[in-house]
């Protein structure tokens, strides 16, 4: 709810008085800075923001935001946020979670919150490692990952979070990178604007237990293997020297100089089939890593559904008091 009368909020208004306790160099700082910087620009009162988290390094996030916040238990942030959002649909609810928190112990809540299109913004800090428990492989760690818990290499297949989200009927799926500050700001704004469950996967480095995670995409210059998705724009990458062509269901990379842009696929974030295809590129080293909004559609939210249902029930059944309910069924009087 924007309030034009109130003074413009600044980053400072969103900083709590608690000392930030992440490791120096952690990717979490970048996300926190963007959240604090961008929330004030959304035109909503500070007291209407609620940050909910589970357990893990990133889950300390709510303590550092000067909003309402709930640092809960491992994996349950989305379930708690669900209760917050149903209890008061006017709030802007944000869940901060990690790859272990939301995809392992909290995997069930992750798919169900998305399936319901619960109007919650999910920020998944994916560093492909358990940091707070000091370095075990996570559900997004690569096969062969050597950690204390997998000294001979992990034999688990990693999850692909956007694919999982799409499979769970998510209505907004995006990906950004901790070091892409401007891009992240844009994704946060898109997530905020989306009515319904929004999911942003944030590629994030853990310089202590998984240093160099995503190094291949986060070098000083954007490398050839990353594509920034833009709705309605041809899918070009590597400084516009390469593009994506879809032939049938086969994805191929074309050299623009040779083929021109006419055959290049145009991104349509409302196309679910396309979204599934794009999300899968992550498992295909020959294809660029997709960053940006993969999928975004409008669909009635759980919260709107609940409001509509209550209003309809009131219309059909009329005004009934608690006393009326107590007196329903067969009653008799003892004198």
């Amino acid at each position: 709810m924007s309030d034009l009368q109130s003074p413009q909020l600044t980053k400072k208004d969103f900083e709590s008085d608690q000392a930030v306790r992440w490791c120096p160099g952690c990717g979490d700082y970048a996300v926190l800075a963007q959240a604090q910087k961008n929330m004030p620009t959304f035109g909503r009162k500070r007291e209407e923001f609620v940050f909910v988290s589970g357990i893990g390094c990133s889950s300390r996030f709510p303590y550092y935001m000067n909003t309402y916040g709930f640092h809960s238990i491992h994996g349950r942030a989305l379930a708690i946020a669900t209760g917050v959002k149903i209890a008061n649909p006017d709030l802007s609810v944000w869940v901060v979670t990690g790859d272990g928190d939301s995809l392992s112990i909290g995997g069930n809540h992750f798919i169900h919150a998305l399936r319901r299109n619960m109007d919650i913004n999910i920020l998944l800090f994916n560093n492909r490692i358990y940091g707070l428990t000091k370095g075990q492989y996570s559900p997004t760690s690569e096969i062969g990952k050597v950690t204390k818990a997998s000294p001979f290499g992990s034999i688990d297949n990693p999850l692909n979070p956007p694919s999982l989200a799409l499979g769970a009927q998510a209505t907004f799926v995006a990906r950004t990178i901790d070091r892409w500050q401007k891009h992240m700001a844009e994704m946060l704004a898109r997530s905020y604007e989306h009515d319904g469950g929004s999911f942003i996967e944030i590629y994030q480095n853990c310089n202590i237990f998984n240093d160099g995670a995503y190094e291949e995409y986060t070098g000083a210059e954007k490398l050839d293997n990353v594509i920034e998705l833009k709705h309605g724009k041809p899918m070009l990458f590597a400084n516009n020297t390469k593009g994506i062509k879809l032939e049938g269901s086969t994805v191929m990379v074309l050299d623009i100089e040779k083929h021109g842009v006419d055959d290049i696929l145009v991104h349509d974030e409302t196309n679910l089939d396309l979204a599934h295809i794009i999300a899968n590129w992550t498992s295909r080293p020959e294809l660029p890593e997709p960053i940006g909004v993969i999928y975004s559609i409008d669909k009635v939210t759980y919260n709107q559904g609940m409001i509509d249902q209550i209003n309809r029930a009131k219309e059909i059944k009329g005004s009934v008091s608690v006393q009326d309910l107590l007196n329903t069924g067969d009653t008799w009087v003892v004198e």
Binding site: I73, H112, V322, V334
Partner: protein, 613 residues
Amino acid sequence: MGKTFKTIDEAIIRFAGDSGDGMQLTGGRFTETTAILGNDLNTLPDFPAEIRAPAGSLAGVSAFQIKFSSRNTHTPGEQPDVLVAMNPAALKVHQKELIPGGTMIINTDAFTKKNLSFAGYESNPMEDGSLDDYFTLIPVEMNKMVTAACEGLDLSPKLVGRTKNFFALGILFYMYDRPLDTTEGWLKKKFAGKDDIIEANTRALNAGYNFGDTTELFMSRFKVEKASLPPGTYRNINGNFATSLGLLAAAEKSGLSLFYGGYPITPASDILHTLASWKHLGVQTFQAEDEIAGVSSVIGAAFTGNLAVTATSGPGIALKGEALGLAVITELPLVVVNVQRGGPSTGLPTKTEQSDLNQALYGRNGEAPMPVIAAATPGDCFFAAFEACRIALKYMTPVMFLSDGYLANGSEPWKIPDVDELEPIEVSFSDRPNANGDYLPYLRNEETLARHWAIPGTPGLEHRVGGIEKAENTGHVSYDPENHHKMVKLRQEKVDRIQNDIPETEVFGENHGDLLILSWGGTYGACRSAVETMQEEGLGVSHVHLRWISPLPKDLGEILIHFKNVLVPEINLGQLLRLIRAEYLVDAQGLNLVRGRPIGAGTIIETVKKILG
């Protein structure tokens, strides 16, 4: 015609049949009519966990017992006077519990060779004389009777066969002189639009009644006069419905929205079903993906200022344990209903037990005290649920409300309370800074130690809560040893102070004597009934029934020491017993039967007499 009436004080009847025979429904209809007639009553539905075990099998037998009386009654009784057995398996399972000389009404059409051998009978007990000496047998060809009654209706033989429970009901209505109109009205409503089904069941009901009238197999009918109940408007109610109403009434009296988050589980699911049907009263129900999400959503809703409730049974509480610890440390008001069933693990899902008391008291990591309240009767679930909400909100704490399978599904006539007369529940959300311009979320009410409650959306009071230990007052993360010790003690002290809200303990009988029966939860009826009987016999036996088990009432220790013996009957291996012995150093004894069924008053009387010599 021509049968003589005998007036009796009370009767116990049991309907037993296959899961598909509609015994619960039949029992429910008999109960409704009997309640409206003004008898006091208690019921005991007893059904298998399987939805449809193989037809005719022992595992598939479903039964419903009702005791109705012209006096006050507290239990569904033990040995029935009349057993209705719809097939051999039902007879096999229940015949041994019928009172010697009792009446058996048996659907002989179901006594086929196949069904007999399925039930484990080597010969037909209706023919081999094994029952004749002990019981009055009333063999009835129910299938043939309903087929004749439904002649001319355009219904399949299968559908016609399904009306035989109403035929049996008709016989019982005749025997006990009950009118048919309530049931006929109910049929019209239940099957509105299906005129053939209404007609078939109505005909079966009347045919059963007329059969009673014309048969010469029994010669007398029975009258059970009205019970003298306190004046008021009554309805029949079961525990789960009463619980739902109690929660709703608490929302009304507190002015908060009711949020229910939960996962289906026997025998608690009816609370979800009932609340879900009250959307027009603004009740928000959320069927979560699992038990943990159920309680977590409730914690979120409590943080946001709703009256937040979840209900489950023991296995669900086990799953919710970690989240309940979070509710304890964040000091948020919510109510957790545990409709206890047989355990451990899946245990006996449809049977009753009191074996989750330890779990309620201790089933969380760390020092995580939670108030525990238990309902005594089906109707009392309303008041216990209401009280659980009131205390949760007043003290800012999660509260565990223990019901059980017997209370949940059992029913009794219930004097409908006047909502206006229920105590208001005061809730005040913080709306301004509480400490020199700052807001300290863990600042406390001096009397109750309840922390302040500011909900999201309130300007200027933004704050964070969480599962890491809180610094006193500020609620900031704190690892300080002294602070932790202090907070652990504060959370316990807060629960202890609920004692100030517990009224003086009522001793039923003398406040000193040879023996005190101390009970909690659903064993109330059996204990009260046993004590009434023993007091009439002149024994020095009194009864105390606990509503709050955590905290225990202030005056309990003083009461206990005035009795030579203390007996604690429980459907567990002595969970309250051990608590009482530990708290008060009294040599209390237990009566512990864990059969998935209520303890009988007779068993309690026997035990007391053995103790008193």
